[in-house]
């Protein structure tokens, strides 16, 4: 038997006044019905006899009072919500994991899966015996952990406070947090083990199971119970991809690509609407097979800037994935610095109108590499791309770089001995840097095979080895060409290759300016996943920016050191506006979209894989607390009936 307090202290004070009031009313002069009798002679003699009677006679006279007090007592007990513990709750310590990822916003359960999960978690808390401790962990891709407590009121408050998110699901962190308390030996120092014994706990996972298996996790003292939330076969149509790009056939036009997946068991037809800044641009009807995907290209005119939105005209269980955004930012000319001792081909290729349209190219001589002013600018990120032609800075700048015939400093990049490159034998035609670059007939005299650092991508292979590679560096990228374009021979500059005679050379430089110069990403910003952090690059002189989220909340960001701005509060799906400096000026925008097939797939999983264990779903676990208050109310009613009967038939008792 356990009790749950349902009233505040002042309500108890009011209630406890009721029995006192009843007793007082009894002790106050009872209003008796006057009755004239021939003589009270016999009655008064009878009463005199009774006056000297035992206390039981008094009790019997006050039988009604006691019955009423009993009635009130029973009602008070009923208000304490006495209950019997059911059999399902076995652990002295409970860890309740509540999934609040995007899929838990599905409305196949009323009002939503998350609310249902919270309701069931509350039922679990209600079942707790006094002395049981519980911990609430809300998890999506990260976990919000509360401490163990026996305070059920606090637990209820913590459960109530769990809000839905748009994030993806990763139970790993939540499991590790739970394990940290159940298996302290794994996370604590040896010295702590003596103090803090590992305590077995029951792990209740309230989720739809839409997360990847956790293979490298040992449950040890945790006993997992998977309580699935949601309807088993819930179909859902979701936008799993939405991207915009220049039409390769017509570079002055944009195209938008949308992919719609059907996670239901029935084929579906849906109308997809494309909007620009809220105005409808195009409509298309898509048929999606059960469990399949289908895509569509929208052709768009060349747009300066705007927010593209694609909407599925359909009401299904999950609304989050029926809408997606893409941002076309106002193109900004890339700032490109070319450090060269003199390279006519390079200069000419960078002087094409196409390059001039997207970039602002400055050519300087190598001695500037030691100039303090230049070093400060390079460190502050004043340039988007710095091209080093046969030269090497002392330190890599805060900018994307393209090294032509030289290696970046630092030793991460290595190269083999100089040899005869002769011809390029393989090209990466997918990478934006080498798209549409055909080097089939390019002849190259000498060069060095590159040994790029780990994580890099080789874009171009020669007979000797990698001739062009690109590697990421703290959010920036370094591209290195393994052979120089020109070489100095006897004081004269002579070509080292025939590439500059080919059309592919200006195309390559145009690609480099667009891709490394950032004008590519400026045109169409990649979509960010909810909860991920977004890196915002701005010129070094901008010290602070403000970000306005889709709900209109404004958050200022301050630059720390020379690093780019990082915005992490991407909880809401939609378009975020970044404002740098001048008021009311939207400088940049980025979109946050779900694009997570795992979250959009609302099919209920029948089991979870945790470590090497398979945790089967516990079907429809009802609240196990057996409420006893009804019996108390029933008893109170019976007492009330008895009281009424005795009041009427008191003569016979």
């Amino acid at each position: 038997m356990s009790f749950l307090n349902t009233l505040a202290w002042w309500q108890w004070v009011l209630l406890s006044a009721v029995p006192v009031a009843i007793v007082l009313l009894y002790f106050l002069k009872l209003k008796r019905q006057p009755l004239t009798v021939p003589s009270t002679y016999l009655w008064s003699r009878t009463i005199e006899d009774l006056h000297v009677n035992s206390i039981w006679q008094r009790l019997r006279r006050n039988l009604l009072l006691f019955l009423q007090l009993l009635l009130v007592l029973l009602l008070l007990l009923a208000l304490l919500r006495p209950g019997c513990r059911g059999t399902q709750l076995t652990g002295q310590r409970l860890i309740i994991l509540i999934d609040n990822s995007a899929s838990m916003s599905a409305t196949d359960e009323q009002p939503s899966r998350l609310e249902q999960a919270k309701r069931r978690a509350l039922a679990l808390v209600d079942q707790m015996r006094s002395g049981d401790a519980a911990m609430i962990i809300a998890f999506a891709d990260t976990a919000q952990t509360q401490s163990f407590t026996e305070n059920r009121r606090m637990l209820r408050r913590q459960i109530e406070a769990i809000a839905p998110t748009s994030r993806s699901t990763d139970i790993g962190e939540a499991l590790r947090a739970a394990a940290g308390l159940a298996n302290p030996g794994l996370t604590r120092l040896e010295a702590d083990q003596a103090v803090d014994e590992s305590l077995p706990a029951t792990l209740y996972i309230l989720s739809d199971g839409g997360f990847p298996a956790v293979p490298d996790f040992a449950l040890e003292n945790l006993t997992p119970v998977f309580l699935p939330v949601g309807q088993a076969a819930t179909g859902n149509l979701a936008i799993v991809a939405f991207a915009t790009d220049r039409n390769p056939a017509q570079p002055d036009r944009l195209q938008a690509f949308v992919s719609v997946a059907n996670f239901g068991s029935e084929p579906a037809t849906v109308i997809v609407e494309l909007r620009l800044d809220g105005q409808s641009l195009d409509l298309v009807e898509l048929s999606v097979a059960a469990g399949g995907e289908s895509g569509w290209h929208f052709d768009l005119p060349d747009l300066d800037a705007g927010v593209l939105q694609v909407v599925l005209e359909r009401d299904d269980a999950l609304a989050l994935d029926n809408m997606a955004y893409a941002v076309i930012n106002r193109p900004r000319r890339a700032r490109v610095l070319v450090v060269t001792a003199g390279n006519e081909a390079l200069r000419m290729a960078l002087n094409t109108p196409q390059v001039q349209q997207v970039a602002e190219v400055t050519c300087v001589e190598p001695p500037i590499l030691t100039d303090a002013m230049h070093l400060r600018q390079a460190a502050a990120g004043a340039f988007d791309l710095i091209v080093y032609d046969r030269c090497q800075p002392a330190e890599l700048p805060v900018a994307n770089t393209l090294f032509l015939g030289s290696l970046p400093p630092g030793g991460a990049w290595q190269a083999g001995p100089v040899g005869d490159v002769r011809a390029i034998i393989d090209m990466d035609r997918v990478h934006p840097l080498t798209q549409l670059v055909d080097m089939t007939h390019v002849k190259i005299a000498e060069g060095r095979p590159l040994q790029p650092p780990a994580g890099s991508t080789v874009l171009c292979d020669s007979v000797l080895g990698p001739a062009l590679a690109i590697a990421p560096r703290d959010g920036l990228e370094d591209a290195v060409l393994g052979f120089p374009l020109v070489v100095a021979e006897n004081g004269e500059t002579v070509p080292n290759t025939t590439w500059h005679l080919r059309p592919s050379f200006p195309v390559f430089l145009y690609n480099a300016v667009r891709y490394l110069g950032g004008s590519h990403s400026a045109l169409v910003t990649a979509s960010a996943a909810p909860g991920s952090s977004v890196t915002l690059r701005f010129p070094a002189q901008i010290e602070s920016v403000t970000v306005r989220d889709p709900h209109g909340a404004v958050k200022p960001l301050q630059r720390t050191g020379q690093s780019p701005f990082t915005y992490a509060d991407t909880h809401v799906l939609g378009v975020y506006e970044v404002d740098a400096g001048a008021p009311q000026t939207v400088v940049q925008r980025f979109a946050v979209n779900l694009f997570d097939p795992r979250e959009s797939n609302l099919q209920l999983r029948s089991s979870l894989e945790i470590g090497h264990e398979t945790v089967p779903a516990q079907p429809a676990l009802q609240p196990a607390r057996r409420e006893l208050w009804r019996w108390f109310v029933l008893a109170a009613l019976i007492v009330l009936l008895l009281e009424w009967y005795i009041y009427n038939r008191r003569v016979y008792l």
């Binding site: 009755l35 021939p38 016999l42 009878t46």
Partner: protein, 302 residues
């Protein structure tokens, strides 16, 4: 239960013709020898002039020659006197308690007492006894008429009808007063509920000295014998307004029954020891039954 005080005018007739017919055959009996004032229909222990022969005795000079048995003298030549039973009248008093407490019940105890008084009085009238009906306490102002003979029936009934409740005089005082005024011997029937807080013992003792043949008829209503009460009540005494708070319960009612039984037994004991006849009568019992059966058993009527 509300106060049951029906209008006395609506009460049924005191004596029904059938009852009168049955009563005509009855007569009042006294266990004691009384000297009547007038010659009545009653045979007396005293020898006197009547038609009923009693005995002979020797003539002594001075005897009335009219009672000489001349036939015996002729046969035996001795003078014998014939003795005859004297027939004489009887003093029959009926005292009614007309206190307010008698005005309860349906029919009221007072009405019941009147019926009893009328029945007994009628018997007395028919037998030419000297019947006197009085209320306790009420007799102070106007003496009740002495009734005799069948013709006085109407007068007796009127007298009874005039009796109204409300004469709350202590029992002892009114009986003492009665005793002072009526020194003669006879039958006294006291119709009362004995509910006097000062007790009845002192009052009844007064009657002992009168050497009267006393019948105490204790009249109680069913409401008093088997009270049907419920709940928390404030009982108000109708005579002195005394208040008693009771909460009716089974034990209380049991206790009341015990008290009542003790009260009745006490009164019966008191009367029996002192040569009085005590009889408890409930107003639920019809008057004719009381007169023709119970009082016959007790020897008041024959």
């Amino acid at each position: 239960m509300l106060r049951a005080m029906p209008d006395s005018r609506n009460q049924p007739e005191l004596l029904s013709p059938e009852l009168l017919a049955r009563l005509e055959r009855l007569e009042l009996v006294t266990r004691k020898i009384f000297r009547g004032r007038l010659k009545g229909e009653r045979r007396s222990r005293r020898q006197g002039q009547s038609v009923e022969f009693a005995d002979f005795r020797n003539y002594v000079p001075g005897d009335d020659l009219r009672f000489m048995d001349w036939n015996l003298y002729a046969r035996l030549d001795k003078l014998f006197l014939k003795l005859f039973r004297e027939e004489e009248d009887l003093h029959f008093f009926v005292l009614l308690d007309a206190s307010t407490s008698m005005d309860f019940g349906d029919p009221t105890k007072l009405h019941y007492a009147k019926q009893l008084a009328a029945a007994l009085g009628f018997i007395g009238l028919v037998r030419a006894d000297r019947v006197q009906l009085e209320t306790l306490g009420g007799s102070r102002r106007a003496r009740a008429p002495v009734l005799r003979g069948r013709r006085s029936l109407r007068q007796m009934l009127e007298c009874l009808a005039d009796m109204q409740p409300g004469a709350n005089v202590p029992l002892a005082e009114s009986l003492r007063h009665f005793a002072l005024r009526n020194s003669g011997k006879g039958i006294l029937v006291l119709l009362t509920d004995l509910l006097d807080k000062r007790g009845y013992e002192q009052a009844l003792r007064v009657l002992l000295a009168q050497r009267m043949d006393v019948y105490v008829i204790h009249i109680l209503s069913p409401e008093e014998l088997e009270p049907d009460l419920k709940g928390d009540l404030r009982l108000v005494d109708c005579e002195d307004g005394e208040v008693t708070d009771i909460t009716v319960s089974r034990p209380l009612l049991d206790r009341y029954q015990k008290t009542l039984a003790a009260f009745v037994a006490g009164a019966r004991d008191f009367c029996t020891r002192r040569g009085m006849v005590y009889m408890l009568v409930s107003t639920a019992v019809p008057v004719e039954d009381v007169v023709t059966r119970y009082l016959r058993q007790r020897g008041l009527v024959r």
